[in-house]
C-alpha cells in the first residue's frame, strides 16, 4: 500500500502542480521584442523614414516619372506606357500611405496633443496633409473623414476631392496653430526630426509652402478660378521659404543599405538598371537652348565616364564659353548624380518650387514683371542648388579643367537663365518647372493641370493599345485592395476597374 502511494504520488506530481498554477502558467502572451506603445520621438522618426523612402521617393514618384516621360523603362511595358494595374498601386495606397504614414500621423498627433507636445503634432499633421494630397492627386476621391477609425468605420466612405483639399488646408492650418501655440511641452523635436532637426520655424514655412501648392492645384478646378487661387497662393508664399536654406531635404547616405531610394531602385543594381532618364522626351525638353543647360549633366549619368561632358570653347573675341557635350548623356544613361547617387538627398519641398508657384500666380494675375522676377528666382535657386553637386559627376581631366573656369560656368548659367526668362510665356514657365521638379510627383500634377509640356503618345501606350486614346494616364487606378476590401464604396466613384480608369480625369482636372 505504501509502495503504491509513492508511485502514484510521483506520477501525479507534475499534474496538480501545473493545474493549480494554470492562469499564471499561461500568462506568457507578451511579446518581449515588440512593444505595445511608442514615444512621440520614435513615431516621428518612423513616419519620416517611411514617408521619404516609400512615398516621396517610392512607387508614386516612379510612376509619375514614367507617365511624365521623365523616365523610361527599357524592356517590358511599364509605367511610361501607362502599364499600371490596380495591384501595382496597392502598396502606395495601402501599406505606404494610409497605413504606414497617415495612420501613424494620426496616432502621433493625438498622442502628442495629449501631452502638450504640439510641435510633434504639427509635424505629424503637415506630413499627413502632404501624403493625403498625393493620394487624392493620384486617385481623386478617397476616404478621408471616415478613414483611420477601424471600429466605427470598417468600410470608410469616399470623400470628394474637393472636400479632401478643404481637409488638407485645415490640417495645415492646425499645424501652423500648433507651432504658434505657446502652451508647449519642453520636450520638443530635435534629432528625431530627420528633416529640420526640430527647427519649427522652417516647418511653419514648409506648411505655408504646401498651402500654396494646394491652392494652385485648384487653379482650373470646376467652380474655382485661377485668379482667386493665385491670390491665395501669393499670401501663402509670403510666409514660406525665402532661400535654399529652407529646402526640406531628407539626407541619405553612401553607407550600405542607407542609400537614396532612386539609387537603390535604378542605379546600384540592387533591383535593376532598366529605369533610365528618358533620352528622347526629357532630353529634348531639357536641351531647349544650345547645349547650355547644366542640369543635363546632373539629371543624366554619363553612359561612358571616360567621355568628356563639357567643352570649353574660345571665341574669336577671346572670350571663353562653356558648353555641354550631350553625347555621353544618351539612352544608355542611368539616373544622374543629383537625384540618384547613394548619398543624394531626397527633396521634400524646395525653395525653387515656391518661386515657381509665385511666378505662376503672378502670371495668372497678369503681373508680368513680378512673374519674371519670381521665375528668375526659381531658376537661380535651382541652379545654385545643383551647382553644389557638380563635384559628384564623373569628370574627365578635360571636364575638370573646363569646369574650373568659374567665370565660364557662371556665364553659362546666367546666360541660360536670361535666355529662358526672356521668353517667359506660360509654356516656358511650366516646362522649366517640369525640369526643375525632375522625379517629383508634382510634375505629374502640373502636367495634368496645365497640359505642359506637350508629350507624344508612347508607342506602347496601354491606353492607345486598348482604347485607341492618345491621352496620358489621367489618374492611378483604384487599388485592388479597395476593390477587394471596400468594394461598395469604391464602386460609388464611377471609376471603372482596370486600365480604362486612367482615362477618367480627377476632379481638379475635369473642367471642360
Amino acid at each position: 500500500m505504501k509502495k503504491i502511494n509513492i508511485y502514484i504520488l510521483s506520477l501525479l506530481l507534475i499534474g496538480p502542480f501545473s493545474l493549480s498554477s494554470c492562469e499564471k502558467l499561461l500568462d506568457v502572451n507578451e511579446d518581449p521584442i515588440n512593444p505595445t506603445e511608442a514615444t512621440e520621438e520614435l513615431l516621428l522618426t518612423g513616419i519620416q523614414q517611411n514617408f521619404s523612402f516609400e512615398v516621396l521617393g517610392g512607387i508614386p514618384a516612379r510612376m509619375a516619372a514614367g507617365i511624365t516621360q521623365q523616365t523610361r523603362y527599357q524592356i517590358f511595358q511599364s509605367y511610361d506606357d501607362y502599364f499600371i494595374t490596380e495591384n501595382d498601386v496597392d502598396g502606395f495606397w495601402n501599406d505606404f500611405s494610409y497605413v504606414g504614414v497617415m495612420a501613424n500621423c494620426k496616432i502621433l498627433s493625438e498622442q502628442a496633443i495629449a501631452k502638450n507636445k504640439n510641435y510633434h503634432a504639427a509635424i505629424a499633421k503637415i506630413i499627413w496633409a502632404q501624403n493625403m494630397a498625393m493620394i487624392t492627386d493620384a486617385f481623386g476621391d478617397a476616404p478621408f473623414s471616415q478613414a483611420w477609425q477601424p471600429e466605427t468605420y470598417p468600410f470608410p466612405v469616399y470623400d470628394t476631392q474637393e472636400e479632401i483639399f478643404v481637409g488638407i488646408q485645415n490640417l495645415l492650418d492646425e499645424a501652423i496653430a500648433h507651432i504658434d501655440d505657446t502652451n508647449q511641452s519642453a520636450e520638443v523635436p530635435g534629432s528625431d526630426d530627420l528633416v529640420y532637426g526640430g527647427n519649427m520655424q522652417k516647418w511653419r514655412k514648409y506648411a505655408y509652402g504646401l498651402k500654396a501648392r494646394y491652392y494652385m492645384r485648384l487653379s482650373n478646378a470646376p467652380g474655382y478660378n485661377a485668379q482667386t487661387q493665385s491670390q491665395l497662393v501669393l499670401d501663402a508664399v509670403a510666409q514660406s521659404f525665402t532661400s535654399n536654406d529652407d529646402n526640406a531635404l531628407y539626407q541619405y547616405s553612401s553607407q550600405l543599405l542607407q542609400e537614396n531610394p532612386w539609387n537603390q531602385y535604378a542605379v546600384n543594381d540592387r533591383w535593376n538598371t532598366f529605369t533610365v532618364p528618358n533620352a528622347v522626351t526629357y532630353k529634348s525638353n531639357l536641351l531647349l537652348v544650345n547645349n547650355r543647360d547644366l542640369r543635363l549633366a546632373l539629371h543624366f549619368r554619363k553612359s561612358d565616364p571616360d567621355k568628356n561632358g563639357f567643352i570649353l570653347q574660345t571665341n574669336d573675341n577671346g572670350t571663353v564659353n562653356l558648353y555641354l557635350d550631350p553625347a555621353p548623356y544618351n539612352n544608355q544613361s542611368l539616373l544622374g548624380v543629383l537625384y540618384a547617387d547613394s548619398d543624394s538627398p531626397l527633396p521634400w519641398l524646395m525653395y525653387s518650387e515656391i518661386k515657381f508657384l509665385e511666378a505662376e500666380a503672378h502670371h495668372h494675375l497678369s503681373n508680368n514683371s513680378a512673374r519674371d522676377e519670381a521665375f528668375r528666382g526659381a531658376l537661380e535657386a535651382d541652379f545654385s542648388f545643383i551647382r553644389s553637386f557638380l563635384n559628384k559627376i564623373a569628370l574627365t581631366e578635360e571636364d575638370r579643367s573646363a569646369l574650373s573656369n568659374t567665370a565660364a560656368l557662371d556665364e553659362m548659367i546666367q546666360t541660360y537663365i536670361a535666355t529662358i526668362v526672356e521668353r517667359a510665356d506660360y509654356t516656358t514657365l511650366m516646362t522649366q518647372k517640369y525640369i526643375v521638379n525632375f522625379l517629383s510627383f508634382e510634375s505629374y500634377n502640373d502636367l495634368r493641370r496645365t497640359g505642359i509640356p506637350e508629350l507624344n503618345t508612347p508607342d506602347r501606350s496601354v491606353l492607345k493599345d486598348r482604347f485607341e486614346s492618345d491621352s496620358i494616364a489621367l489618374r492611378f487606378p483604384y487599388p485592388s485592395s479597395e476593390w477587394q476590401y471596400n468594394p461598395r464604396n469604391v464602386a460609388t466613384r464611377n471609376v471603372p476597374l482596370g486600365f480604362s480608369s486612367m482615362l477618367v480625369p480627377v476632379w481638379w482636372d475635369s473642367k471642360e
Binding site: M1, I14, S20, N34, F53, L256, W483
Partner: protein, 1053 residues
Amino acid sequence: MQRKILLSFTLLWAMLTIGLGSAFAQTERTVTGVVKDDTGETLPSATVVIKGTTQGTITDFDGNYSLVVPSPETILVYSFAGMPSKEVTVGNQTVIDVTLSSEMLEQVVVTSFGIEEQKRTLGYALQTVDSKELTNSRETNLVNALAGKVAGVQVTSSGGQAGASSRITIRGQNSLVGNSQPLFVVDGIPLDNRQTNASSSLNDSDGSLLFTGAGSNRVVDIDPSIIESTSVLKGAAATAIWGARGANGVILITTKKGKKGKPKFNFSSNLILNDAIVRGYQDKYLQGSSRDIFLNGLPEGEGGFAGKGPGNGQQQGVSWGPSLEEAIQNDSLLKYVGVPKVYDPRADFFRTGQTYDNVFSVSGGFDNYVYRVSYSNRMEQGIAPGNDLTRNNLSINFGSQSDKKFNFQTSINYFNTKTTRLAEGNGAAAYMFTLSRWPISIDITDYEKEDGSQITYTENNVNNPLWLAKNNNFSSNVNRLFVNATVNYKVNSWITVYNRLGVDGYQDNQKQKTNLGTFGRLEGRMFDATAENILIDNTLYAVIQKQINDDFEFSSTVGHNLNLRNFEMNVLRGIGLPERDNYNYEETQVKLDVLPTIEKVRSTSVFATAKMGYQEKIYVEVTGRNDWFSTLEPGNRSVFYPSISSNTILSELIPALPKNIISYWGVRASYAQAGSAAEPYVTRQLFNRTDPSDATRGSIAVAEGQDIIGFNRSSRAAEPNLTHELKKEFEVGTDIKLFKGTLRADFAYYDSRVVNQIVPAEVSGTTGFSSRWINGGVIRNRGVEATITADVFKLIQKKFPLDWTISLNYTRNRFELVSLQEGIESLFLGGFNSPQIRVDRNFGYGVIWGSRLERNDNGELIIDNDGRPKQANTLGPIGNTMPDWLGSIRNTFSYKGLSLTVFFDGRFGGDILNMDLLYTTGAGTALITENRGNVVVWKGVKEDGTPNDIPIIANQRYYTNFFSQIDELFVEDGSFVKLREISLSYNLPKKLLEKLPIETLSFTATGRNLYISSNFSYFDPEGNLYGSGNAQGFYHAVTPGTRSYAFGLNVTF
C-alpha cells in the same frame, strides 16, 4: 471556475485510482481450452502467453492447452504463425476456446497516446502505413515517403533539392491562412515540424521566400528506418482527444522497440542515384544581341552574328539570336569565329545526385528489459552542385516488459541534420532563375576568373549558376534531441496509470553565404543565425479497460496534458564582406541590428474518453477535452471539444449474412469538434521598428550602433477578443472484408466546417490597418476516401505460390469558402502583386490571380487588328491550384523470396502557375518559343464578332511584349501520373543461410519516378517555391524533380 473543475477532477481521479488500486485480491486458477482456426481446424503449436510476461504454454497436436493463471484480470495472448494474435481476459472463465483467423480481421492499430486498439472498435477512419512501405521509398523526408499511401492525404514536394520541404495535408485545407498541416506525434510526444528559415527575420530582399526559397520542414530530421508503424488519424473524431493541435489530423508514429531474446543485429545499406528531370527548353536558337553590342564579344561584320532586334534594347543577352543553321551561313562569323559551339547548359549544370544511406541496429532483451539501439547515417549529394544533406540518427530505446506493476519505457533520439542549399526563386542570386534562361551558345562551365571572381557573358550581369553554386548558399546545422520517458503503474488488472514526459529540443544554426561579386548583391552578405526550439510535453493519464460482463466491455482514458513551447531566433546579419570568402560577421562593413524572434506558447488540458462495446457488435465512444491556451486573453482561453463515434459490426449483428462471402462488415459514424488557437502575440496591439522598404527590393535598414530608430504601429490590428477556431466534422464510413478477408475495402465520407477562423484578414488600408486579426469566415471540406485492397491470387486459390496484393487509394476533397468576414473578398497567400495565389470568396482556395486575356460573353478570345488576343482590362482568376482528386495503385507481387512492388501515384486537376515559363518565353529559351518566325492564328473572334483569321508572326516581339505579359498563359495543368516507385527485393532462402550466422539477407533495387505522365512544360509539376507553406502551385525557379535508382542490402544476424 475552471480551476475548481480541475481540482475536483484531480481529487476524484486520485481517489478513484487509489481506492481501486487497493481493492483487488489475487486468486490463482487453471484455464484450459482449444485453439482453432476460422475453418474449424485445430491449431497445434499455437502459443498461449500471459500478457506482459514470458510465462505460457504451447497447444498440443489437437490444439489443447492448459495453463495456470494468477488472477481473473489476467489477459491471455493467443498466437499462431501467420495469424494476428488475439487477447482474452480470463475473468471467471475456466474454459476458453479461441478461434484465430488467418485473415486480417482483427487488425490492431495504434490510436492516440499509443494505445493499441482493435480497429473494429473504432468509429472513425484510421489508416496505417507499415515501416517497409516507408523505407522502401528511400525518401529522405518522411513526408515524401507518405505520398500516395494514405487516402485523404495530400503530399506536395517543393522540389528536387536535398532537404527540400514537403507539405502534407489531411482532408483538405482546414485553415485559411494558418497552419493546415497535421500534428506529428512520435511515441506520444508531439514533434515540431516547422519550416525554420532565418531569412524570415530579415528585412531585406533575402528575407522573402520569393527571393530565397524555403528551407526544410523539421520532420526531415527523422530517419524513417526507426519507425515501426505509422497511423494516420484523419478526422476530428480520431484526433479530438489531441485538442487544438490535432485539428488538422495526426500522424502517429511508433518507433521500433526491442524484443525479448538474443541480441539481433541488423544492417542495411543503400545507394541512391538521382537524376534531374529537365525538359522544356529549345536547343536550336543562339543568343541574341544586346543594344549595339554583339554578345559573342565581336562587332558586327567581324564575327558578331546576331541580328539586331526591333527597337532599342530588345535583345538583352537572351536566346533570340539566329539559329545555329542560320549562323553558320554568315561568312564573317565563320571567318572570325568558326562554327559557334552549342552546349546543353542545363545538362552541364546538374550532376547525378548520390546518396549513401546506412543503418545499423541492435535489439534484444534480458530479464524484464528490452532494448534497441540504432544508428543511421545518410549522406546525400543533391543534383545541383553545392546542395547536400548529411543526417545522423542515434536512437536508444530502453524499457521494461514485465508483469510487475511498474514498467517504464524510455527513448533518447539524437538527430543531426546538416544541409547546404542553394537559393531558389526570383532574382539574381537564385541559380535556377538564371539557369532556365541560359543561352545554348554560352559555355556555362567557363565561369570563374583566376581570382575566383565571376565571368559574365552579358553586360546586364547575369549570375552564372555554377558560380552561384560554388559561392552562394544557405546552410543549416540542426542538433536535435528527442527524449521520451514513460512510466506506467498497473493499479489493477484494468487500470493502468501512465505518465509520459517528452522533450523535443533543437538548435538550428543557419548561415547565409553570398560572396563578393554576386550580381544583385555585389558587396556580399552573410548571416549567422541560431534558432532554438524547445517543446516540453507531459501527459498524465489512466487507461481503464474492463469487461463488465459477457455482453459489455468498457474502456476509458482520463488524463491531463501540459505543453510548453519556446522558440527563439537570433540573427547576426552582415552586409559587405571584407574580402572574398570571408564570412566573418565582425569584419563585415555593415552589421545590421536584427531583432530576435521570441515565441512562448503554452497550453494545458484535461481529457477523458469512454468506450463501450456490446457483444463485439456495437461500439460507442465519447471523448471530451478541454484546452486552455496562452495565446488568447484570459476570458477566452478555455475551450471544450467533444466527440462521439460508433462502429456497428453488421456482419455480427445480422446472422443472415453469408460469412463465407462477407467476413466482416462494419459501419461507422462520428461527429466531433476540434479547433485551434491563435499564434502568439496577436491579442495586443504592437508597435514595430520602422523598416522602410518598397515592395521591390530596396530597403533602408538600421545598422547596429545607429541611433536613428523609428517606430510605427504594426500594420495588423490586434484583436483582444479573439477566440479559438472550431472545426465540426461529421463522418460516416464502412469497412468491409469479403472472401475471408482477401478483398478489403474502406470508404469514408466526411463533411467538416471550420468556423470562427482565426484570420489575419486583409482590410481596406483606409482603416489605418492593412489587416486585422478576426474570428471570421467559415470553410467547408467535404470528401470521399476509399481504399481497396485485394489479395488477388489468394482469392482464387489459397495455396498458389504467387502472392499479388493490389491496393488502391482514392482521395477527393471539395473545399468551399462558405463565408468570409463581411466586406472581405479575398486573402493573399503568396506570390507577387501580380500574379499571386489567394483565397477568394467566389473562386475558392488557392486561386491563381493575374493578368488574363479578354473574352466575350461566350468565352471566346477577342483578337485585335494585329492578330493578338486582347488583354483583359482587369486582373482576375486564371487557375486554381487545388487538385480534383488523388489516386494511387500499389501492386505487390511476391513469390518465395522475391518481391516486386509497382506503385503508381497520380494527381488529377489542380493548376500550376509556371513562373519559369513566363521568364523563359521572354528570354527565348522555352521550348514553345521554338516556333519563332511561324505564323500563328489565334482562335477567337475579331472585334467585329467574326471568327479571327488575322495571322501574327510569333517572333521575339510577340513573345516578350505580348505573350510573356499575360499570366494566364503560364497557368498549366498540374495533373500527373507517376510511377512513384518500382522496387524489386529478394530475400535469400533460409536454407542457404543456415550455415552462416545470418538470419535474413535481402537485396532491393528501387526506381523512383521512372515514368511520369503530365502536360506540364517541365514534365514534373511537383515543385513549389513556398515549400510547405499555404501558397501552393507556385512554380518558380525551384530545383526540378528527380528520377532515382536505389540499391539496397539488408542483413540481420
